[in-house]
């Protein structure tokens, strides 16, 4: 190639690099802030959507409970049994949606820097004038909350496992795509490559929580739902420890007040 040719090439290449730098420079300003605002907004929308869904499920459960009570009043054991089974299914859904809602709220609060979720698992307080029976009721309430946390922990654990499996399947799909697109053979092949439909045939479809998270617009891998669930699990475990300690304290206080000063 002549010196002139090399010079032309150098000029063209330099022009390309200048365009690259300008493009990066143009794209940079305010993008971070705009992205954070968009994520916050989407997070709130998802949270509201989940809360509405949970409320609708609760209304359905209440209606079902009323029907069940009427069936029991009429002595219709068969219908009562069927309604009970449907009620249990509905209760599972409510729990799953509640966990999704909590996860979402927690994520929004983490994004906003606020404290997470104290209101959802309040620690019962011993009042100055509470009689021992009331203190024992409060200890029982704390133990109920512990049971609820245990059920939610099981749900969150299951969802985390399913999401991890989905991630594994997606990484596999991606590795196959890399091999067929970016390996040299991919540019030539007439055949369909190695794509074997790994994801589509995942029989253990993600549960309600994962589906809800996915149905929300813009829920992408970059937002790491697994990490959100892990944070929720950690918080639930911490709350569980606090409730165990509080239940024990309330029992001890009830015993002390029974014995008198």
């Amino acid at each position: 190639m002549t010196g002139c040719g090399r010079q032309t090439l150098r000029r063209v290449r330099r022009a390309g690099l200048v365009i690259l730098v300008i493009a990066v420079g143009l794209a940079q300003p305010d993008a971070q802030t705009a992205r954070q605002e968009a994520v916050q907004r989407r997070c709130r929308e998802r949270s509201d959507s989940l809360a509405n869904y949970r409320d609708r499920l609760i209304v359905s459960a209440e209606s079902l409970a009323a029907q069940q009570a009427r069936a029991a009043g009429r002595g219709d054991r068969d219908l009562e049994g069927r309604l009970l089974a449907r009620g249990e299914t509905l209760a599972d859904s409510i729990r799953a949606v509640s966990v999704a809602y909590l996860a979402q709220r927690m994520r929004c609060q983490q994004l906003g820097g606020a404290l997470p979720l104290r209101a959802d698992f309040p620690l019962p307080e011993a009042g100055e004038a509470d009689p021992p029976t009331l203190l024992r009721q409060k200890a029982g309430y704390a133990r109920d909350l512990i049971d609820r946390i245990d059920r939610w922990l099981a749900t969150v654990g299951g969802e985390r496992d399913r999401l991890a499996e989905l991630r594994l399947a997606e990484e596999m799909r991606r590795l196959v795509e890399d091999q067929s697109v970016f390996d040299e053979r991919g540019a030539l092949e007439i055949g369909g490559g190695d794509a074997l439909g790994i994801l589509e045939d995942h029989p253990e479809a993600p549960g309600l929580l994962a589906r809800l998270l996915q149905e929300m617009p813009g829920m992408a891998a970059a937002e790491e739902p697994e990490a959100v669930l892990a944070a929720l699990e950690t918080w639930l475990l911490e709350r569980r420890s606090a409730l165990v300690a509080r239940a024990s304290d309330l029992e001890a206080e009830a015993l002390r007040r029974e014995r008198g000063p």
């Binding site: 190639m1 002139c4 040719g5 032309t8 090439l9 000029r11 063209v12 390309g16 690099l17 365009i19 690259l20 730098v21 493009a23 990066v24 143009l26 794209a27 940079q28 993008a31 992205r35 968009a38 991890a164 499996e165 989905l166 991630r167 594994l168 399947a169 997606e170 990484e171 596999m172 991606r174 590795l175 091999q179 697109v181 970016f182 390996d183 040299e184 053979r185 030539l188 092949e189 007439i190 055949g191 369909g192 190695d194 074997l196 439909g197 790994i198 994801l199 029989p203 253990e204 479809a205 589906r211 996915q214 149905e215 813009g218 992408a220 891998a221 970059a222 937002e223 790491e224 697994e226």
Partner: protein
């Protein structure tokens, strides 16, 4: 002072434009990636930066001629998914660009641009997919090897709950394999796959495939006395595949496939039968590490005897022509903020452009990846 003649000058400008296209595309992708969250929440960006080492850069058959070199790697991608989960209806588009640059062997430095646009119409039981894709592979230091490939595919799918699925796909492909000449190939493929649950997390699947390829090229033959080959201006091949497999979801994730492929070519010495085994396996390991293994193992027996069909100009990594055996291992771990670290090791033993001869190569690649493992 001599002035350049118009011919070479326009050639240089063409080369220059081609080279400028790389940073321009990178700039465009970066720009879109940064603006994506503001512009449309359904756009996802990804990037991979890394380096690797290749033990046989030129795919030499003789180990004495093997050349080793290290390379740097950059990939950028954008994905637009206007879908409605869980049925994943709607349009999607992807654009990926990748470049790897060898430290010494600059002739092997290459750029790949891949784009895909697709639509999916689905209800709970049926789905129709239409997909168009294009791949542009360029070697800035060796434009003779540039390839442009286009594919148009459609697929129909029926589902019976979670227990069975039938998928029928058809596609037409055109590849221009020589930018300066009439070397090209065109073909079509049709395949069907039926999957059903056989218990727990295990599925079984059966696949049949038919494909036809027409190559616009001459085939040269080396024959012993008494035999003759060609010359053929157009090599044509028909291929049929029948295969079965099993798959397991969850961890470990397993896909094991065995197929028997029969290829009939008008160049009789290129007709062959091939046993194909493919294994994909993945595990979830502690600390959010995932391990993946891909194994591809072929055994080919050629039908024609006596002659060797020599296709010296063809790419040795062309799976439509040559037997390929490979093992790929990958370890990957998210390191936060959407970034994952990955190590990929690969070993290949592929058939060389002269049927029956093989070359081996190994590679190790370490990279950081942002995005790139999108949940469905």
């Amino acid at each position: 002072m001599m002035r350049d003649s118009p011919g070479p000058r326009s050639d240089r400008l063409r080369v220059g434009r081609r080279r400028a296209a790389v940073p321009c595309t990178a700039g465009l992708l970066l720009c879109l990636a940064w603006m994506a969250p503001r512009a449309a929440p359904l756009i996802e960006a990804e990037a991979r930066v890394g380096g690797g080492y290749d033990t046989n850069v030129y795919e030499a058959v003789s180990s004495a001629r093997e050349v080793r070199d290290s390379y740097g790697l950059l990939e950028l991608g954008l994905h637009l998914q206007a879908r409605r989960a869980p049925l994943r209806r709607g349009a999607h588009a992807s654009l990926r660009w990748a470049a790897d640059r060898f430290r010494v062997e600059r002739r092997e430095t290459r750029h790949i641009l891949w784009g895909e646009v697709g639509w999916r119409f689905a209800n709970r039981r049926r789905a129709l997919e239409l997909t168009g894709s294009a791949t542009r592979r360029t070697f800035p230091a060796d434009p003779e090897r540039d390839v442009t490939r286009y594919e148009l595919a459609t697929a129909l799918q029926w589902r019976w709950g979670r227990t069975a699925r039938l998928r029928i796909e058809g596609a037409g492909v055109f590849a221009d394999t020589d930018p300066n000449g009439p070397a090209e190939r065109r073909g079509w493929r049709a395949n069907g796959e039926y999957r059903h649950l056989i218990g727990g997390r295990w599925q079984a699947f059966q696949r049949i495939e038919s494909r036809s390829v027409r190559y616009e090229r001459r085939v040269r033959g080396e024959c012993p006395p008494g035999y003759a080959i060609g010359p053929y201006d157009r090599q044509e091949a028909e291929t049929y595949l029948v295969g079965v497999g099993i798959a397991r979801t969850g961890s470990p994730l397993v896909q094991l496939f065995y197929g028997l492929r029969a290829t009939t070519s008008n160049v009789s010495t290129l007709s062959h039968q091939r046993h194909e085994v493919r294994l994909h396996a993945g595990w979830l390991l502690p600390a959010r590490v995932t391990a993946q293994v891909m194994v591809r193992w072929n055994v080919t027996s050629y039908c024609g005897a006596g002659c060797l069909a020599v296709l010296a100009d063809e790419d040795p990594e062309d799976p439509d022509l040559w037997e390929q055996n490979s093992v790929v291992l990958q370890l990957r771990r998210p390191v936060g903020a959407g970034v994952a670290a990955e190590v990929r090791a690969a070993w290949q033993r592929n058939e060389a452009p002269i049927p029956g001869r093989y070359y081996e190569k190994g590679s190790l690649q370490i990279a950081l990846m942002y995005g790139g493992a999108r949940l469905p």
